[in-house]
Subunit: 558 residues, 2 copies
């Protein structure tokens, strides 16, 4: 037995917020049986990943060792935990275990992707146990900003590990199971915990988290005071918030209309799985436009400024027949995620131009976070008093701060970012290996490695513009006709308003006429010379160094 070990290996989520993917293993070194917890996505941005649809973790290591993988657990249905599953499962093809609401969401994704829905197994909450290889796993309900997040209680031959998943300590979460102090105390009383792997997202929030239930009254009061239509936006998956908003609307004599496919799907799935009950009656957009504005409330997608979501569409103009106007009120029952500020403010300003009243979260009056704040994390440290606390789900700064917190509580702790394999068999975590990890882009239907250069080329074209040169040579290496230049993303004219393409063509043609056979017969030399000329002209004429592609066509005898 002393030859076997318990390992922990984050492949995503440790060093970033997003694309969670954590591997646990038990067995002889290099022969551990493996279990994957979560397989999420991160979201692209124009700065670093233009044109990309989604970002998933690089799971090459897991694919190389797939014969040792016994199963996949999804802790909850947020995209940063489940979003990569349909894209990467075909490389793993192992059973997926999760609770019923999350399973329903997962099966919808599998259906769309043409994958077998029966690969997703519904499990019951603790005390039910799922055996995945050497791991006996219980799903302990915790509150979060989506129904049914599950803290994993993982019993292994080397001891018990608690994987908190995303959670907050909310005894009254409106929808789904709350944080149950007594049940948690009972769990803690069952015996020693070797390690807690713990959510770090809100480690910099100094005050205890507030309950979802604190929002109902302020929101109802706000809505009652509005003279026109009320539009509220929040995350589509925050089913509890949708209920709070809808009930507040009904209390203010308003009929509810949900806009946005993702939101309707979440509500339907939550209702079908029995997670959500008592949700007020909703009407279609067609019915909504027949109602007096002061009796209508829209709940819409797009709280982060997403360009294709309902919020953005409504800020631009009429959407599904509905148009906002002066006297209406728009409530952001949400916080802007860092990086989305510009998109959100674009919507705010567009609404402002229409004369709409805009209400933000008002320092938490109309929004609470779904993650455990610093004092809540400290409470969890004290509750389980594990041998070690390993921070997960956070940028480096979050993980480091969380480690510090653990040390203050007297717990062993270390920052383990993506690719860091820890041996957690003993009393303290020991780094045993560094695995090559990274990001993979879902780009259309293709998977592209972040380091493949494809997206780097896009960024270069966007920053520098593009010049395409065509040259035709005959079999004696003599130029046929003149060089041809196409510009993309570059100023059309340079100094003295000369057309830039013509200036380039002239210089290139002059060069070709004077060039010797040594250059003309050598594709590499010719390519290099032509690129140099193009860059030189561009720098002189418009002060830029564009990307250049040269196509040299050599016509052979027929």
């Amino acid at each position: 037995m002393s030859n076997e070990r318990l390992i922990y290996l984050p492949l995503g989520g440790a060093g970033e917020i997003g694309m969670n993917a954590y591997v646990y293993g038990y067995g002889a070194p290099g022969k551990e049986r493996l279990m994957l917890v979560d397989l999420g996505v991160a979201f692209p941005d124009m700065d670093g990943s233009p044109g990309v649809d989604l970002i998933v973790p690089d799971i090459d290591w897991l694919v190389d060792n797939v014969d040792r993988l016994d199963g996949i657990i999804i802790t909850h249905a947020h995209e940063d935990h489940i979003g990569g599953l349909a894209h990467l499962w075909p490389q793993l093809k192992k059973p997926v275990y999760t609770r019923k609401f999350t399973a329903a969401i997962g099966r919808l994704k599998f259906e769309e992707a043409g994958l077998p829905q029966d690969a997703i197994h519904t499990v019951e909450a603790r005390p039910a146990v799922v055996q995945i290889g050497p791991f006996a796993v219980q799903f302990m309900p915790v509150s979060h900003s989506i129904p049914e997040s599950a803290m994993l209680v993982i019993d292994t031959p080397a001891g018990r590990v608690i994987h908190t998943a995303d959670f907050k300590r909310d005894p009254t979460p409106i929808v789904g199971e709350g944080w149950d102090d007594a049940a948690m105390a009972a769990l803690a009383a069952e015996g020693p915990v070797k390690a807690v792997m713990c959510d770090s997202t809100n480690v910099f929030s100094p005050l205890p988290g507030r309950s979802e239930s604190t929002l109902a009254e302020p929101i109802a009061e706000l809505i009652r005071a509005q003279p026109g239509m009320v539009v509220a936006t929040t995350f589509a998956s925050n089913v509890a918030r949708l209920k709070t908003l809808a009930e507040a609307g009904v209390a203010a004599d308003r009929t509810i209309c949900l806009l946005g496919r993702a939101m309707r799907r979440m509500v339907t799935t939550a209702q079908e799985t029995g997670v959500l009950t008592g949700f007020p009656r909703t009407v279609s957009p067609e019915e909504a436009i027949e109602l007096p504005r002061r009796n209508l409330m829209l709940i819409v997608t797009g709280s982060q400024g997403e360009r294709r979501a309902a919020s953005a569409a409504l800020s631009r103009g009429k959407y599904l027949g509905i148009e906002l106007k002066e006297g209406d009120t728009f409530l952001f029952s949400s916080k802007t995620i860092p990086g989305n500020e510009r998109d959100v403010l674009k919507i705010v300003n567009a609404l402002s131009e229409k004369g709409i009243e805009i209400v933000d979260d008002n320092n938490g009056k109309y929004h609470v976070s779904g993650h455990a704040n610093r004092p809540d994390l400290e409470a969890v440290h004290r509750l389980f008093l594990p041998d070690m606390l390993i921070p997960m789900h956070g940028e480096h700064r979050h993980l480091r701060e969380h480690t510090r917190l653990a040390h203050e509580a007297g717990l062993a702790s270390t920052v383990a970012t993506n690719g860091t394999m820890l041996d957690i068999s003993g009393d303290v975590p020991v780094v045993v290996e560094r695995i090559q990890t990274g990001r993979v882009y879902v780009d259309g239907t293709a998977l592209v490695g972040a380091m493949d250069g494809v997206v780097r080329d896009r960024i270069r074209m966007a920053l520098n513009g593009m010049v395409m040169v065509t040259v035709i040579l005959d079999e004696q290496d003599e130029p046929l006709g003149e060089a041809w230049v196409e510009l993309m993303g570059l100023a059309a004219t340079g100094l003295g308003d000369r057309p830039l393409a013509e200036t380039m063509e002239q210089e290139l043609t002059e060069f070709l006429e004077g060039a010797g056979g040594k250059v003309l017969s050598d594709d590499d030399k010719l390519d290099e010379a032509l690129k140099r000329i193009v860059r030189q002209v561009a720098m002189e004429e418009i002060g830029k160094k564009p990307e250049v592609r040269v196509v040299i066509s050599r016509l052979a005898t027929e």
Copy 2:
């Protein structure tokens, strides 16, 4: 006289934070003599303006009416007020009036751009008067986050206008003239004010602004407590903050080293113009590395995460021989401007990985804003009690909120965004014309209209990738050789790992072989057909619709 009017026309800054440019005019309609106040830049971003160097206002209207323009005033040396001057002055060629520090900064810019430095005239503060056409202008010193911001007192035949410029009500701003209540009261007592054009940046900040002088003690205390090197970053132009930081460092037994060209230039210019005195002795990076870490303090550029600034360089590794390490402290004596969060967090996380202690503004303990907050704006409304208050410098949401504030104070007010010409001769503002305005990109050495499509093409290439097709036809419209495809920014392989370019070439060549003379002889038809095939293959193979450029070469008889 009743035929003459006083007009106000924002060309930039009204509907955005940045690129301030405001026109005043007096005279018969359409024949007003004009004066321009400020000519600033806005900063590009990858989302909307990739590869662009700077954004300046579209001043076509002013250029069309340049014979009526009598002069240009610059209120202060922030880039969003002076940054466009060197780029656009060649189209205006009118005298520039500003105070000495700002004039020195302006002359440095003119020198670099090869423009005549004597076009910039240094003016004295009130009671000195500068006559610009029909406008008698006094420069009233106000406090801001750069030395020498000036509120303009503009006397016109139609009455007095106050143009606040960027300001805060700080009686003790450390460097430069403070807000002087007595002097302001004297100004207000001089007589009625027709209109106040007022900074709106901080209209959503509910508490009164705090003085720059409140920072010295907390920052000194912080620095004294640090065991290693201290690095502090703030805006290079915030000379007062640089002094506060440097003095705090000296008080903690540290020698100061300034890193970043912009910062050294600001300090030197402020010293040369007599605006800054008593700045502690600084050392070069070469001298700095010889000092014990706990006796060294760096003050560096890059508080907004700018990739080429000193902060970013230090977060990546050694910079000018200096390397940060565990035990050092990095202070952001600044606030992150919306949109820069991702770049700033990248630096924070890189520093976190090095084990550096990171300190942010700590809710204002280590940073104060340079703009008047809501209660300060209200105080200015009450001070001057103008007929009307026109909000300027702000996004639409700021302007609108500021208008609301003015209405609460019983003042006439309206939102006038860029291009809105107001007649302010009467008691209330009247919109008399809408001028075509917009944004112009400084792109390398070229000026490119935001609507020209150049940058749109860059964004498309970045989002969709690019395919370049080359086809050669002989004089009988017969294809010579096969179609040639180059991919840029696209996955190299499609379904079943087939090379995407080859699949496209195969389809294109097949099409060319089967195409009739009607298509082959018509460039437009052929271009369209080839593009369609490329897009179709791309969609099938990788699920994307790329940008396509086709080059058809027709070889003529020699």
